[in-house]
């Protein structure tokens, strides 16, 4: 079992505990083993980066952690609750309360302004931030009333981050958040994620193909062929704005 959170100062508090997670798409001859038994423990408040070749199963893991997809076998414990045993409705409530997502293609609602895209989520949350506050946190206080079509890619991604964090989720899952962005814009997005992680203690998973980004994480997980093939602990997290690729 990979002990991601083995820190010196006492017993770590685990937010996720993953046991023997497997995922098989399809059946028989054409079956694809996306995950072949993943075990991990994630400490609350950690910044975790997942690295690995294309098709190694990173997105699959993240989707199961976030309650988007069902596992074929194994368990995901979230604060001691078995997420893999949840039905569709329970998964929806889980995503609604506890999980924030950021995607490669932003997935903003084109017919809503930046502020409205955020309040779309705050309207259904128990203890949300003010949408303007969330947008200020990602440096977009000046673009509140712009529609996605009027924003750059990086700005759109920061709106997506504001949307994801505005409900104060415990977990933030980011699948290639900088995948569609250039280096400079990408670092600003990463800086926003870093701020959120530090200020709110939001446990953050970031999938990337970019090894440089791993420097800003507490923990780095290396993926290969549906398994975790290696792991790394950074004593010091690099500042995102100093990264470049």
């Amino acid at each position: 079992m990979s002990r991601l959170a083995s820190q010196a100062d006492g017993e770590p508090e685990a937010i996720f505990r993953v046991d023997g997670l497997t995922k098989v798409y399809g059946e028989g001859e054409s079956a694809v083993h996306a995950l072949r038994g993943v075990d991990l423990v994630a400490r609350q408040g950690a910044m975790i980066v997942l690295l690995g070749p294309s098709g190694s199963g990173k997105s699959t893991l993240l989707n199961i952690l976030g309650g988007l997809d069902h596992a074929s076998a194994g368990h995901v414990w979230f604060h001691g609750n078995d997420v893999t045993a949840f039905g569709d409705d329970a998964l929806t409530e889980y995503r609604r309360r506890s999980v924030g997502f950021v995607f490669q293609f932003y997935n903003l609602v084109a017919s809503l302004t930046a502020r409205e895209n955020v309040s779309l989520i705050t309207e259904i949350s128990d203890n949300p931030m003010d949408p303007a506050e969330a947008l200020a946190l990602v440096g977009l206080e000046a673009r509140l009333d712009h529609f996605p079509a009027q924003l750059s890619g990086g700005e759109q991604q920061r709106v997506a981050i504001a949307r994801a964090i505005a409900k104060r989720p415990e977990v933030l899952l980011c699948d290639e958040p900088t995948g569609a962005l250039d280096s400079q814009t990408g670092t600003r997005v990463l800086a926003a994620l870093d701020t959120v992680n530090r200020e709110f203690g939001t446990t953050t998973f970031i999938i990337t193909h970019n090894a440089v980004i791993a420097d800003m994480a507490d923990e780095v997980l290396l993926f290969g062929d549906g398994r975790i093939t290696g792991q790394r602990h950074n004593q010091v997290r690099a500042a995102p704005l100093g990264l470049s690729w």
Partner: protein
């Protein structure tokens, strides 16, 4: 090239298969359009052909000329008139029958039998039994509808009062006549086959009873081909005036033919009005489906063009798809039309007694159906195909930029209207595609309109009947005399035990004229403050005949082009045939009112006759009804009796019978349109929004919350469409009423408030059922896929 083409064909079939459920929804709407069209065109063709063949084979007269009495020798002169191809004299009268199975007296029109020769006019179709034997003067044949309705076996004996004489008649046959395809008794608006009959008997006994030996009182005429008839009519009137001619009239004014023609006209209205509605809706649906397809395939189109694929082939690709999407509708529509047409022909057969009425769809109907289907294909595919053709390869390869929602009006309006973000998504979505939203609203409104306009006639009919039979006519019975009578007849009626109240009326045949305009309709003399029969206007207000002058119906006033204060001339066609000049002192629309109503005393005076009446309304003690009937049946002076209640019952039954069929029919049609519009517009919206909606699901929105966005949009469309639909339906009904009205009756404009309410319900049910179907797709959204693609 051929490889590409065949691959494109594979794509075509895959597209078609993928769009199958939308294709079904489109096909249903096209089927409704094609179906109503095929049905109406088929029925028009079948009815016209049947009518024409029937009239021709049985030599139905082109012109009719009733008179009092003329010697048979006059026929030679009539036959000599230019334009007259053939003329037959006959004897026509009225009688009352006393039948064992019918409580009320039966009113009969009696004609002398046409000659047995094939050249005779108005020949009969023998349906059962045989024709009367000249050696048995009591033998008669009767119209089949009456024989059935009255439950008379062949050989049945009937007591009759024929021209004041008691006679015994014996039924030996049942017949059809081109003259009575629609057998309407005078003064009635629905056939009452149980209480009104048409009899034909040998001419000899009839002549003897009416003192018309070697004489006649009715002429029927066939015109030479190409003869208009106006001149013949004029000459006939001159020729017959000395013999009490009541005025010749053409077939177009013959009551049975008028109803048949009227029905064909109404079918024509239906055929021109209804199918376009469905076909335009179908065009809209095809358009949104194809436009969406072109949108999602812009990259493919660009690729094909970049590879040098000809634009023609790409256009053809989408046109063929549009045709494929419509073909099902065409086939279904033809089947539906044939089925409905056959059903309707069956209903018509109850109304119109044709010897044969086969519903046939001829080549024209198929061609019309095909042309009708091409309309939505062309209209619907045009913009989409054009867009595909115009796409520059380079543009097409670039992914579509996110839709720009920054229009000022749209933003402000949505921000103001939307209480929360999901509602703003809905409102902005609708406002961003204003044309599509408006068209969807129009399509949905068309469904409501169709329902409201089609179901309103019943309310108006009910109201007309209510006006006619409870506000205007409050008598129990109305009796008509064989000939005008003086006050003795009035007292004679009064003295019958059980008759509580008698209100006389006087009718006089006349032609009412103003300059070159003419209306042939009688003058009706009514009592002031009569309680049994009152003058009632179309709004139900009671009125009186004016104390001086004459009151015209609105329709008559329009035809004569006169107003209050103008003079009209009435050329009376009976008695001393005076020409009366009368001032119009009132104009009033009443449901069943005659053309011209005046005070009976004034009419008597103008006719230079004493206190004369043509008949009377009676109030009868219910308990004494059988005895009253017995007296009336035996009374020599009475030629016709109508019982208000029995008439009302017959009308009720007739309407009831057709009402339920009609309800299913129009409910079905309205629902088809709603399902077609909602299903397609929701599916398109789902396809455009799938990514948004899936993202929302990922972000923790529940299924219901996501469905609200998609279906809320449709709900807004439906809600907005309803008032328009109701309004349009009411206006359409107002327009149609103008088409339906005849001299016989004026349908009051009235919309039963339940009809729009039911329309709303029908639309809501159809919309909800469709929403349910689409909702299942929302529930099955693939969350992970939405995150992988850029759209």
């Amino acid at each position: 090239m051929s490889f590409l083409r065949s691959t494109l064909t594979v794509k075509l079939m895959r597209d078609f298969w993928r769009l199958r459920s939308q294709a079904v929804a489109i096909a249903l709407v096209i089927a409704a359009g094609v179906g109503t069209m095929v049905m109406a065109v088929g029925l028009i063709g079948s009815m016209s052909a049947t009518r024409d063949t029937y009239y021709d084979q049985y030599r139905f007269a082109d012109m009719f000329a009733p008179l009092v009495r003329a010697p048979e020798t006059l026929m030679a002169k009539i036959r000599m008139l230019p334009g007259v191809a053939a003329a037959d004299s006959r004897i026509t009268t009225r009688a009352t029958l006393d039948l064992p199975l019918v409580m009320e007296p039966v009113t009969a029109r009696v004609h002398s039998l046409p000659a047995a020769s094939p050249s005779a006019l108005n020949r009969l179709v023998l349906r059962a039994g045989r024709y009367p034997n000249p050696r048995h003067p009591e033998e008669v044949v009767a119209n089949e509808a009456f024989v059935r309705a009255a439950g008379l076996p062949l050989g049945a004996r009937m007591k009759a009062v024929l021209y004041g004489k008691q006679v015994d008649l014996r039924l030996v046959g049942a017949v059809l006549s081109p003259e009575y395809v629609y057998a309407l008794a005078p003064g009635q608006i629905f056939p009452d086959n149980r209480r009104s009959a048409v009899l034909w008997m040998d001419r000899e006994p009839l002549a003897a009873a009416l003192n018309l030996n070697q004489a006649f009182n009715d002429v029927v005429i066939r015109l030479s081909p190409g003869e208009g008839g106006k001149e013949v009519e004029r000459r006939l009137d001159i020729l017959l005036a000395p013999y009490g001619g009541a005025g010749a009239y053409p077939r177009a004014q013959q009551i049975s033919d008028r109803f048949v023609t009227n029905e064909i006209d109404q079918l024509t209205t239906m055929a021109t009005l209804m199918p376009p509605i469905f076909l335009l809706v179908a065009a809209f649906l095809l358009n949104i489906v194809l436009s969406r397809l072109v949108d999602t395939e812009r990259e493919v189109i660009g690729l094909l063009k970049a590879f040098g694929f000809p634009v023609r082939a790409i256009m053809l690709h989408y046109i063929v798809l549009a045709i494929l999407l419509s073909l099902g509708g065409l086939a279904l529509g033809i089947a539906l039309g044939a089925w409905l047409g056959r059903g309707m022909a069956g209903i018509y057969q109850n109304f119109f007694t044709f010897p044969f009425l086969r519903f046939r769809i001829d080549a024209t109907a198929y061609l019309v159906a095909l042309a009708a289907t091409l309309v939505p294909v062309m209209l619907g595919a045009a913009t989409a195909v054009w867009r595909a053709a115009r796409l520059a390869p380079a543009d097409a390869m670039r992914p579509e930029a996110p839709a720009d929602y920054s229009g000022v009006a749209v933003t402000r309006l949505a921000a103001a209207l939307g209480p929360d973000e999901p509602s703003r998504i809905i409102i902005r979505g609708l406002l961003r595609r204003p044309i599509r939203s408006v068209l969807a609203i129009l399509g949905l409104a068309a469904a409501t309109m169709l329902y409201v306009a089609s179901m309103s006639p019943n309310g108006s009919m009910d109201r007309m009947i209510d006006l006619g039979f409870s506000r205007a006519d409050r008598s129990d019975l109305a009796v008509a005399f064989a000939e005008p009578r003086d006050a003795h007849a009035f007292h004679e009626l009064e003295r019958i035990p059980g008759i509580l109240n008698v209100q006389p009326f006087r009718t006089v045949g006349a032609r009412i004229r103003s300059r070159h305009h003419e209306v042939r309709d009688g003058l009706v003399g009514v009592e002031q403050r009569g309680d049994l029969s009152r003058v009632v206007d179309i709004e139900g207000r009671t009125s009186e005949a004016p104390p001086v002058g004459v009151m015209l119906s609105g329709r008559t006033a329009r035809i004569l082009d006169v107003g209050v204060g103008d003079l009209v001339e009435a050329l009376v066609t009976e008695g001393e045939r005076p020409a009366l000049r009368m001032r119009v002192t009132a104009i009033l629309d009443s449901p069943f009112g005659g053309a011209a109503t005046l005070d009976r005393a004034i009419l008597n005076q103008a006719m230079r006759e004493g206190d004369v009446l043509s008949g009377a309304y009676l109030q009868v003690d219910k308990a004494a009804l059988p005895q009253v009937y017995a007296r009336l049946k035996a009374s020599p002076m009475i030629a016709g009796v109508t019982a208000r209640e029995a008439t009302l019952r017959t009308i009720g039954e007739t309407i009831e019978e057709n009402f339920s069929i009609q309800t299913y029919f129009y409910t079905g049609l309205a629902m088809l349109v709603v399902v077609g519009v909602i299903y397609n517009s929701a599916r398109i919206s789902l396809s455009e929004r799938a990514r948004d909606l899936a993202s929302l699901r990922v972000l923790g929105f529940r299924r219901g919350e996501v469905a609200f966005i998609l279906l809320g949009e449709q709900a807004v469309l439906v809600l907005v469409s309803l008032p328009f639909g109701i309004w349009a339906g009411i206006e359409l009904w107002r327009f149609l009423i103008g088409q339906f009205n005849t001299e016989l009756f004026t349908i009051p404009f009235f919309v039963d408030p339940r009809v729009p309410a039911q329309g709303v319900l029908v639309v809501a049910i159809a919309a909800a059922a469709t929403a349910f179907l689409v909702r299942r797709r929302v529930d099955r959204l693939d969350l992970v896929r939405a995150l992988k693609t850029r759209e």
